[in-house]
Amino acid sequence: MAIIDPRHAAKQLIYERIFRSATLSAAILVLLILGGVAVSLLRGAWPAISHFGFSFVTREIWNPVTDEYGALAPIYGTVVTSAIAMLLAVPAGFGIALFLTELCPPLLKRPFGVAVELLAAVPSIIFGIWGLFVLAPVLQRHVQPWLIGHLGHVPYVGNLFKGPPFGIGVLTAGVVLAIMVLPFIAATMRDVFDTVPPMLKESGYGLGATTWEVMWNVVVPHSRVGIVGGIMLGLGRALGETMAVTFVIGNAHRISSSLLAPGTTISSAIANEFTEAVGDLYTSSLIALGLLLFLITFTVIAAAQAMLRRLESRGGFAA
């Protein structure tokens, strides 16, 4: 009984090689895409880099008429809006994760968790249009006048809340970003908290600790790395977010001390001006902005992934 037909085996081996190399090339393509992004951005940005040199990132000027470009205002806007977003979203995300892991009745755990994840699935343009037509007027009418009235005269801090309440501006962009990254931070923190061994928590409760004490003294120290990883993943999203910000930031290439004034970010400058950019230097400067954004977000996301991975290797957490 000829179980193994040599011709059949040879054919099988060929198929095997074909399939294996197909999967391998697809996997390598993923590497090539990232490499290609870096190389093509560098090439597109080269005219601007060679023309302006390092001063590109230190100058505030952005003037298409005289063909002079500096990235300081978009960098400033990106950093400030993301900082506002993190300031609001991290405590709120922590609260939601605490609620979902410790307080929530088991019956509601799933629906609430799904609701948070659905908020993450809403496309960013929806946050933008909602921010422009709903959130900005609310902030303009109720929140910003209060900020100007109560904080506008405080020394130092007051400078952040000066000027008329436009509605749109850096602060509004930060708030919209906070709402956008909130579900990512909350979901990651919840997953991280779930990896804490119940034994540790029960030991805390056994010693008479309150829920908050167990949370702060047992769960948080145990999952510190994962928490920071989750926050940085959220930060990566906030830094690169385009559409939600473009709607509400006001798109002004300048740095104002007031958070209520319009500003711009790297991504919204690209989104707004790229198709209208005339002249090679203009286009190239916008691509150079893209390169900057790529470098910043790559660093942040890579650090976040490295941290979450460290946690994973320690105790079976899937990021």
Binding site: I4, R20, L29, L31, I126, W212
Partner: protein, 284 residues
């Protein structure tokens, strides 16, 4: 006693704060959905699905944008998902513990969270500049690149869930890994892989930034893949920021259509996953 009261008060305070945080998050979701429904439903009519995007001041629909979004999303998935599935197969089956796989996993997770506008610039550089003009195929390529990391991730996870015994049985029958993968692993992980596809479609169908300077937009009906093509997200972007009431109404209606589609896709993906888990949970 006093100290104990203080600890309890502190505990309650933080628990109330966490409850407030959760309620705020849910309120945001509710507010967004409510705004979409109230503004979007007002603009809903048969015209949306029968007429083209209008010039300012006249009535019209979103037909060309819906068509363009559909075509580019479909093309994006058709190009991106096979690559994602194959690469995921490599990571799960061939190179499980190799150093290359560790690097690819890492890069893939970075791509998963990378700003989509960067992908748009990349495709602009390699396709639009070469072709000399914006095109639907460039838009589809940008979407494909965004779909790859999602499908890769779910495929690898789902293949890892297939019981090792099934793989061993197939190998014991003399099947090569390719045969095992195609005839045993893929069927066993089918619903999981389909979930990945649904999530990828949900992810790319709402993307705006990568289409801005790849597919651009087109006010007219166009089926040509090498010409600019209308698409829902960019139409929403342009119309919402315009001063014309008709355009803004259309933008809201489009926003409702996109969000409803994406939420339905994400919920079905979740339902499939939940069914999968309960199936595995009930002892197999």
């Amino acid at each position: 006693m006093n100290r104990r009261a203080l600890r309890k008060a502190k505990n309650s305070a933080f628990l109330v704060l966490s409850l407030i945080a959760t309620m705020t998050g849910l309120a945001c979701l509710a507010a967004i959905l409510w705004t979409l429904l109230s503004h979007g439903l007002a603009g809903m009519s048969w015209r949306l699905f029968a007429e083209m995007t209008p010039p300012p001041g006249s009535r019209g629909g979103l037909l060309n944008a819906l068509y363009g979004s559909g075509v580019m999303t479909l093309l994006g998935i058709l190009i991106g998902s096979p690559i994602g599935v194959l690469a995921g197969t490599y990571l799960a089956e061939y190179g499980r513990n190799s150093r290359l796989s560790t690097v690819i996993r890492f890069i893939n997770d970075v791509l998963l969270s990378a700003p989509s506008i960067i992908i748009g610039l990349f495709v602009y550089e390699i396709v639009v500049v070469r072709m000399g003009h914006f095109s639907a195929i460039a838009g589809a390529l940008a979407l494909a690149i965004l779909a790859i990391p999602v499908t890769l991730r779910t495929t690898e996870d789902m293949l890892n869930l297939v019981p090792i015994g099934m793989k061993d049985s197939s190998a014991a029958l003399g099947a090569y890994p390719w045969r095992t993968t195609l005839s045993v692993l893929y069927p066993a992980a089918r619903s999981g892989i389909v979930t990945g596809l649904l999530l990828a479609i949900a992810r790319i169908s709402g993307e705006t930034a990568p289409l801005l300077f790849t597919a651009l937009n087109n006010q007219f009906w166009s089926t040509q893949l090498n010409a600019p093509m209308a698409n829902l997200p960019v139409v929403i972007f342009q119309f919402a920021l315009s001063p014309y009431k008709d355009w803004q109404d259309l933008a809201w209606a489009g926003a409702l259509i996109i969000t409803a589609t994406i939420l339905i896709l994400s919920i079905s993906a979740r339902v499939i996953l939940a069914m999968l888990q309960s199936e595995r949970g009930s002892g197999r």
